[in-house]
Every structure is written in structure tokens, then in C-alpha cells.
Symmetry: C2
Subunit: 213 residues, 2 copies
């Protein structure tokens, strides 16, 4: 019996699709949706252009698939929290997991950045819906923590943006970071240092008090 809805996931298909998705993520991240050409993606994947289109259907579909893959990674990162959790632990885990996403998926992070830079034409619904809800749910918890004097009464949404931006930076502006620090690449230990730095500054900065000291 064969699957009716989706094409059979043969060995060949799996291998080629992965090569195409990875290549496309690089090219789209670098040059944005318009600036990326199917030809360039095909070359990066080591396949003829026709073959790429055979698998992915169209440039647009390929782009959407990549965004969905990235949003899945993003969602996998986001766990729920409650007032009863420890603010220090939660904020630190938040920073660490976001930085880990940046470190392990820099291309995807840059793809996301390129999409938002052009006004998020494909992600607007996601931003205004799912993500917005998630942010405000978390914001409420932050405010409750502040009411309990477990942290300073800072605007929780700006705080979330601070964590996003300061971590995202090391993917999106990697070229600048490398140019200024004079390195070839950032090692795992660098990410460790930066994460520690950000946890320290941000936790201290918003006066977070650990409930379990």
C-alpha cells in the first residue's frame, strides 16, 4: 500500500531533498527571497536546476518549506512557564536556548532575519498570531514576578526583544563580529562566554532574584 497524499519518501528523495534544503537555506539567507536564484541553489546542492524544481515544485514553495522548518525549530525551543517557576532559572534557560538556536542554526536564523527585513511577507500571520500570543502570555508572567518583587518592573515585551536581539545578533551580524574580533569563526567556547555574559548582564539588569538562593 502506498501513501496517497504525499509522494513516497524514497532513499533518493530523502537525500536530494536534504541537500536542496540546506543549499537553499544558505542562498536565501545570504541574498533574500528575490536575490536568490534557483540556479545558484542548484549549484550549491550539486544538482541541475531542473532536478531541484522536480523536487521542490517552485522557488516559492521551497522558501515556504524552509520558513516552516525554521519555525518548527523556533517552536521546539519555546516551553511554557508559570508564575511559580523561578525567574532566574527561566530567564537563563530562555537566553541559553535562544543562543543555542542561533549557534546550531545560523543559516536558518539569517533566513528568518532576511524574511523580516523585507517586511515579513510570508510570516506576517505567524507573527501577528501564534508568536504574538506566546509573547503576551510570557509577558504576563514577567509582570506577576515583578508584582511579587522577584524582579524589577520592566516592560516584559522589551525584555523579550532584548533577549532575541542580543542573541540573534551573532548569526545575522556574524560577518561583522568576525571582522571586528579578527577571527575565522566563533567556537563553542565563544558562544559559552557570550551566553554567560548575556545572562549576567540581563539578569542583573532587571533585578532578577532567584527564588531558590
Amino acid at each position: 500500500m502506498t501513501t496517497i497524499t504525499a509522494p513516497e519518501a524514497t532513499r533518493t528523495r530523502l537525500r536530494n531533498e536534504r541537500a536542496i534544503l540546506d543549499a537553499a537555506e544558505q542562498v536565501f539567507a545570504r541574498h533574500g527571497y528575490r536575490g536568490a536564484s534557483v540556479q545558484a541553489i542548484a549549484e550549491a546542492a550539486g544538482l541541475p536546476k531542473s532536478n531541484v524544481l522536480y523536487y521542490v515544485g517552485s522557488k516559492r514553495q521551497l522558501y515556504v518549506t524552509l520558513l516552516e522548518r525554521m519555525m518548527e525549530r523556533w517552536n521546539a525551543m519555546l516551553d511554557d512557564i508559570s508564575v511559580d517557576d523561578d525567574p532566574a532559572e527561566v530567564l537563563e534557560a530562555f537566553i541559553r536556548s535562544k543562543m543555542e538556536l542561533t549557534r546550531t542554526h545560523p543559516q536558518g536564523s539569517r533566513l528568518f532575519a532576511a524574511e523580516v527585513l523585507q517586511g515579513a511577507p510570508f510570516l506576517q500571520d505567524y507573527l501577528r498570531g501564534e508568536l504574538r500570543g506566546w509573547v503576551h502570555a510570557r509577558a504576563k508572567v514577567f509582570e506577576q514576578w515583578a508584582a511579587k518583587d522577584l524582579m524589577d518592573p520592566v516592560d516584559p515585551v522589551w525584555l523579550i526583544f532584548l533577549i532575541w536581539s542580543s542573541t540573534q545578533h551573532y548569526a545575522d551580524f556574524e560577518a561583522q563580529v568576525l571582522g571586528i574580533t579578527g577571527r575565522e569563526a566563533l567556537e563553542a567556547s565563544d558562544y559559552q562566554d557570550i551566553t554567560d555574559f548575556l545572562c549576567r548582564i540581563i539578569l542583573k539588569g532587571c533585578g532578577v532574584v532567584s527564588r531558590r538562593p
Copy 2:
């Protein structure tokens, strides 16, 4: 007597060049270098494509001109500091002026982001030279402040990146910020709030003590 090297800056030329530069900044910021088409820029400027090329020579020259214009704005922001300055004042002025650049020139900020996203092919020299020197000079001062116990001994380069990223965010990820906050645009008062928030978190976060309390 006429200028020999540069073309006369006639009224017409001035008007058209400004329209072209502003239009191009928008289009390049949205779609990156490759993704931007001269046709799209021309339409945004309200001129025929041939006319645009008459003024700017080529797409590449236009892009370089825009990057130079943005780097001038960037440089105008950067004033020198010394160990004798007040850390609190300097850091706050740093954050405020960077945020002001983001607010008044969002397109240019996004253009810069798009350039760095694609690996900074045109700005590599600037990043590895001028800007790198500026960063390290300032980093030295931060370290001296830390040695004098005027602030915590944090890595000064990561601190500079934190300020850059957290302010830059409101230009580059404007679409996300608007989507999540549910606004049409960020007002001057919003920028004021965000700037105050960032000053507060970052100064407190790295234990900055004002020398003149």
C-alpha cells in the same frame, strides 16, 4: 569657471539624486543587493530606468554610494572617550545616539543589515579596519573603568555588541516588533521608552557607577 572633476550640482541633479538615493535605500534594504532591481528603484523614485542609470552610473555604484552615506552617519555618531569620562554618562550617550540613528534612519540601518547578512562583501575593509580599531580603543577604556571599579569587569567587546544589537533590532526587525505589539508604527515616545529601558538594564547590568552621583 566650472568644476573639472565632478559634474555640476545643478538644481535638477540635486533633486533627482536625492529621490534616487532614498528610493534605492528602501529597495536595497528590503531585498538586498541582488534582489533589488534598477527598475524597482526607478519606479520608487518616479523616474524611468534610463534616467536613474544616467545619474548613478550603475547599480553597483549606487549601492556603494548608499553604504558610504550610511557609514558617514555612523561615524558622525561616534565620538571619542577617555578614562576620565563618566562611565554612566558615556554608556548612556552611546545607547541613546545609536538608538537615535536607528530611529531616524531605519532604511539605512536595514541596508547595513542586509549587507552584513550577505557576508559584508562591500564593507569588509571598513569592518576589519576603521571600525575594528574604534571598537578596541573603546574596549580599552571600558577595561580601565573596570580596573578602577567603576563598572563590573565584563568583556567590553560583547558589551558593545549588546548595545549595537539591542538598538539595531528596532530597525531590522521592525516588522516583527509591529506584528507582536500590534501597532502600525513606533512613535517617538515608544523609542524614548525603549531607550530608557535599555539604558536602565544595561547600565545596571554591568554595574556602572556614576562618578558624579
